[in-house]
Symmetry: C2
Subunit: 311 residues, 2 copies
């Protein structure tokens, strides 16, 4: 049946996400231009669009229908379908978190994905505000979705805000991560950091897609489980890659986790056991998808891709 490889599908959906992000972000010409340029610089800095694609695929798994690009079925190509707006809001939140994480006061990274970070290009003030602005924009676009009722839109806002917050959310994970540097690495601390820091937004990605697809509570629960396992696998592999890869291949300063004394899976469990754990998380992710049958095929493939990726 499927003639399109996962790689081809992802490239196609990256293009659709990019096109939708372009529609949903103020143009570089609109005032004030600088902040819109800064927002776009980081939004279009070569992200792999993992979260948006997870969101789109979760919507498909639940509804059985693929989410179209920027409303190709509509005259004028608009509006953007609900799951695509949700996908873009996730990428905006992810990008905002990267901009703030890279700041001198936080991780102090000059490069990300081989490109200069926001504050190196636009200065610290504008980078802080660009992060703030992407967060704001992410919420705004959810409130203006067409083709979803107010309750559905509100649920999306709630999911995104929860995943971004301090209690088991992204900011909370970042705080625990910062405070854990130079602390004794324990398994509990490690899981707590990653469940919040990267896990919450990946979980929200599939949950928001599922909501747009009209999920039942059971489907939403299973999708959360999938998101949790994929998120944990993603982070374990990220830590492994940081140890293994050279600076060049990653496009960021590798081995930096260790240099900063960050708690990582290889540091706590060793490389071999970390690899086994990633595979284990991957298996559980597959299991969680059982109820969706064949429409979750791509989510299965994405779980494998995350665990067996090389960068």
């Amino acid at each position: 049946m499927q003639t399109e490889s996962l790689k081809e599908l992802m490239l196609r959906q990256q293009g659709q996400v990019d096109a939708a992000l372009d529609v949903l972000t103020p143009t570089e010409e609109s005032s004030p231009a600088t902040i819109h340029k800064a927002m776009r610089y980081s939004l279009f800095a070569g992200g792999k669009r993992i979260r948006p694609i997870l969101c789109l695929q979760a919507a498909l798994a639940v509804s059985g229908r693929a989410v179209s690009g920027r409303g190709e079925e509509q005259p004028g190509g608009l509006p953007v379908p609900p799951a695509m707006v949700a996908a873009c809001s996730l990428e905006m939140i992810h990008t905002y978190s990267l901009i703030h994480d890279d700041l001198p006061a936080l991780d102090n990274d000059d490069y990300r994905r081989g490109k200069l970070t926001s504050h190196k290009v636009f200065g610290e003030a504008m980078a802080i505000l660009a992060g703030d602005a992407l967060f704001t924009r992410a919420i705004q676009i959810l409130t203006t979705i067409q083709g979803l009722d107010a309750a559905g839109k509100l649920q999306l806002v709630e999911e995104l805000a929860f995943a971004s917050g301090t209690s088991d959310g992204m900011i909370g994970g970042q705080v625990i991560d910062i405070e854990s540097e130079r602390k004794t690495p324990t398994p509990e601390l490690l899981h707590q950091i990653h469940s919040a820091k990267t896990g919450a937004l990946l979980r929200a990605s599939v949950r928001m897609g599922a909501i747009c697809g009209g999920a039942t509570q059971e489907q939403l629960d299973q999708m959360s489980r999938y998101g949790d396992h994929v998120g944990m696998a993603f982070q374990i592999v990220d830590d492994i890659l940081d140890v293994e890869e050279s600076s060049e291949a990653l496009g960021k300063t590798a081995g930096k986790d260790e240099a900063q004394g960050k708690i990582t899976f290889p540091a706590v469990y060793g490389l071999e056991r970390s690899r086994a754990m990633a595979a284990d998380q991957c298996r559980m992710a597959h299991e969680a998808l059982g109820i969706f049958g064949g429409s979750a095929q791509r989510l299965h493939e994405i779980a494998d891709l995350i665990v067996y990726r090389k960068s």
Copy 2:
């Protein structure tokens, strides 16, 4: 009829807002503690709660009913009434903007209201994240309001996000303000900055209160007009006070606007004409309240207070 002076009313409502903020913000004990401490430090740093009180009074003007404190009518004192949640979300956004504005990369202020700023107490990383977290929390609490339907809650989220954004919103105003330093001060630029930087959130304050009070479109329009004029008056007076007051009385470094080359009303129009403009904005604010009759009495008094305040 009224035995309570405006000053007494404001003190009482400040207390109610403080109590509601306490309920709606994670405790200092909840993990991760540091970020919750930082959020609370700035939230409870002596703000005058102008935006929350405007919100509560706008709800009263529209509905004819006063908003109670933290749900005194309910057993257990909960839930917090919709307009009070909206009021708290506005204060959280305002506080987040102050924390980020005070950062070394932006205004580089060590003190605000006579207290050390967030980054001086918690460090820059935590201050950036505390701002982010207050923004997130402001959105979260709106989504969980009890006693308002999904469409109403969504409308509040939309108002708050719009007022915070880059296009005619708070962040946009901040960007234009930063970029205007050392530029030729023109009336157009000045109005553009303040309409966005402080005006948008003040306008949202009365609009969100009005929405909670069940406003008609006409009532909402008039409330916006009131908010615009009060916001402009507020900023003109703020600029005048910066010139006039000593560092001690303001609790922040006075004359700083001039030192930083910021565009201000006195710089563009001179002190006397600025004072006349503030009075003019105040008069138009009063006019906008005409349709609300006696229930807008306190909004009238607040407009006067803003223009004739001494700090």
